[in-house]
Symmetry: C2
Subunit: 470 residues, 2 copies
Amino acid sequence: MTEHFSTIVIGAGSGGMTVAIGMAGLGRKVALIEGNHVGGDCTNVGCVPSKTLIHLAKNFKQGMNPDEVLQEVIRKRDALRDKETEEVEHLDNLTFIRGMAKFTAPRTLSVTHDGVSREITADNIVIATGARPRMIDIPGLPKERVLTNESLFDLTNSPKHLIIVGAGVIALEMAFAFQKLGTQVTMFALDSRPLMTAIPEASEAIQAELERKRISTHYNASAQNFDESTRTLTIKKGEQLITLHHVDKVLVAIGRVRNLESLGLDQVQVKVDARLGILVNSYGETNIKGVYAIGDVTPTSAFTHSANAQGRRVVQRIAFPFLPIAKKEPIFPNATFSDPEVAAVGLTEKQLAEYCHPGIIKRIRVDFKTHTDRGYTDGIENGFIIVDAVRLTGHILQATIVGARASEMISFFTLAISQKISLYKIYRLVYPYPTFSSGILKVADFFMRETLPNLGKEIAAYVKYRFAKA
Amino acid sequence: MTEHFSTIVIGAGSGGMTVAIGMAGLGRKVALIEGNHVGGDCTNVGCVPSKTLIHLAKNFKQGMNPDEVLQEVIRKRDALRDKETEEVEHLDNLTFIRGMAKFTAPRTLSVTHDGVSREITADNIVIATGARPRMIDIPGLPKERVLTNESLFDLTNSPKHLIIVGAGVIALEMAFAFQKLGTQVTMFALDSRPLMTAIPEASEAIQAELERKRISTHYNASAQNFDESTRTLTIKKGEQLITLHHVDKVLVAIGRVRNLESLGLDQVQVKVDARLGILVNSYGETNIKGVYAIGDVTPTSAFTHSANAQGRRVVQRIAFPFLPIAKKEPIFPNATFSDPEVAAVGLTEKQLAEYCHPGIIKRIRVDFKTHTDRGYTDGIENGFIIVDAVRLTGHILQATIVGARASEMISFFTLAISQKISLYKIYRLVYPYPTFSSGILKVADFFMRETLPNLGKEIAAYVKYRFAKA
């Protein structure tokens, strides 16, 4: 009675679907297990509804009804969910199984649905169960006022005053979107600045925009309690107590928890780091042969695009084990769809400090407002390209862009970094005028002007520091 | 009394300023001659006011006053013009001369201003006099109803019904911008489709958007006459006469004429082709040693960004003649800021037909609406990436993008083409989700899927056609 598959994928989110559809397309017998909605976070409670909301909010004009915007978000989300569900239910070679999976042996799962369990086995099992919002308890706050990204996109009435707990990607994206719909937005967070994962300059630019748009922010702050009779939330900042009035909803966006508990991973000795998640090698395999993990459950990937990229590598590894696969994971860019957007690729501040002597790094900053004509025509206040490059060679270590089109512009740098294209070569390119991208030329221009006239010193610095670390 | 300079630049537009400011910055004694406004077309009657208008029109909301938008365009244009004028008038090593220049000998110019002439000489003379709008005569049309890009941005009242003659870059940019301000727009042109310089698929997408936005268009059509008493313009399309009613203004945007007549080029035997303009080698020198030409007056450059690129090469050539300079001009991308934008880089259709056997080219088309989730969340109807690549090697011959962020996305392809990065390498990159740029991954994905399974045939086609032409 135990059915056997070539590959079982646990979790029908973006990463899981990439593997399941990819393997099925190659003629392998695949099972895809999902306990909730097909499409995972991205389709249901993440990228798709949030970017639909952001797009509609951008074009929101006075006189329009914000509730209709929220209802349109739901309509588009449901339509895509239905389409994807239909797809996985009718794909050749793919068996879609509703239920919760648990390992009973390294390549055996027990899947439970409505109290009924069945056992299935496979040559390969891919864990893609993702993550869920981390919660906090705010004394006195009734459940019906609490939102997470999982409930936010079921709202059909826009709140008058929305409190957002957190200052990360989701918090910022929703703060800017709801502000445009006419909602009063107040953010508070334990963090000392918005978007802690970005370089401090990006946080500064975003903070300036939050203030321009009259979004209130409180950093180094935590929730104290809520009084339902007066609808006031008290937060604590150091010794100071701050009272927020007329609160309608509280969106909790303070991070994510991996969905690992019910998988029975300890049964099969899959190595899990309490902080980092399931440990995998560069092509996604865990310490147990034939057991893979991708997406949010792994240490390196918290984005749909990185989960998909990991999924593609797993497909290649399982289906074409003889084909060469790069030892290193590809470079994962990141993007926050705030207003302006923030996008970055390359080494983080921490990695830069760890791997490179500061003497060998030249940091270049180009501001759209002062250094590009497009910034002038579009009246841009806050936005820039910051590039850290190796002195003398001009190789790019990281690029961060804050700007209206940052999420599209960043791929230029992903290509440049992955192909080791130096700023000298980038200087020779021609960029359409007037665009924000012509700021890339300015980056290369500044780099040359600030390093070439001191060639002697630059060579000395390069030689001195090149092998100082690493 | 004849003053001598290291370099004289004729024309203070973008290209001319690049050379003049660049040479002055290197300590050379420079003269910059301008008969009209500093900043040339770009600052005064081109990119800067047009992109300011496009940006303000995009954010134009019902209830706002379109005349205030036009007045803001003038304010921003004048502010930049004043800043740039101030700059060239007070730059070290640079003498700014108002007047019209005429060659009297290969390195001697006579400059006339207010009827007074002076003679100046130089080691190098750079011609950067640009171009002006081509005009047509429409019988019965009073002068005060006629606009070109040179008078358009002095308008302080937005027309109710604007007729646009032409279907090129300027015509399309202004059609979409004025439509957003609430102006009724009617376009007609001798051309058979909008944006004749782009691939036909781009014209189709733009035509669909013109229709969605209720901009009337008539192709293969020419002006017949205007009746001022009824304010009707009659145009002719084949045998058919079409009457356009309630006409306020007529914008003529049917191409450009090079500003060469008054330069006395025949006096010094500088070679000029009647159709192509001043003939120059790859670093901008004419047949006369020490006489250079850049920008609109040359055959290859009708954009601010290409004029600037040519200017940078001339500076390098004059100031550092010993440094190597690439034999070929760099690749010039182009961008039209219509809605959606159109951007392209690489070989034109004509060049493709000339240099490549069709059997060796694989064309890939990715539509944002159907192939990217960003197209779905943003409700995109018309927009795509079309790439022509060499079968088997995956090297990109041309890329055309139609989409909201095309002008920023195109630089990715400029980099890929100039660095000869194949679609196989592009396939390995990770693109932020959900972006239009993830369509680039789809391009690479489709290319592999459509060519790899037929590897035998692909190799045969490659071998057969590789040397068939060229």
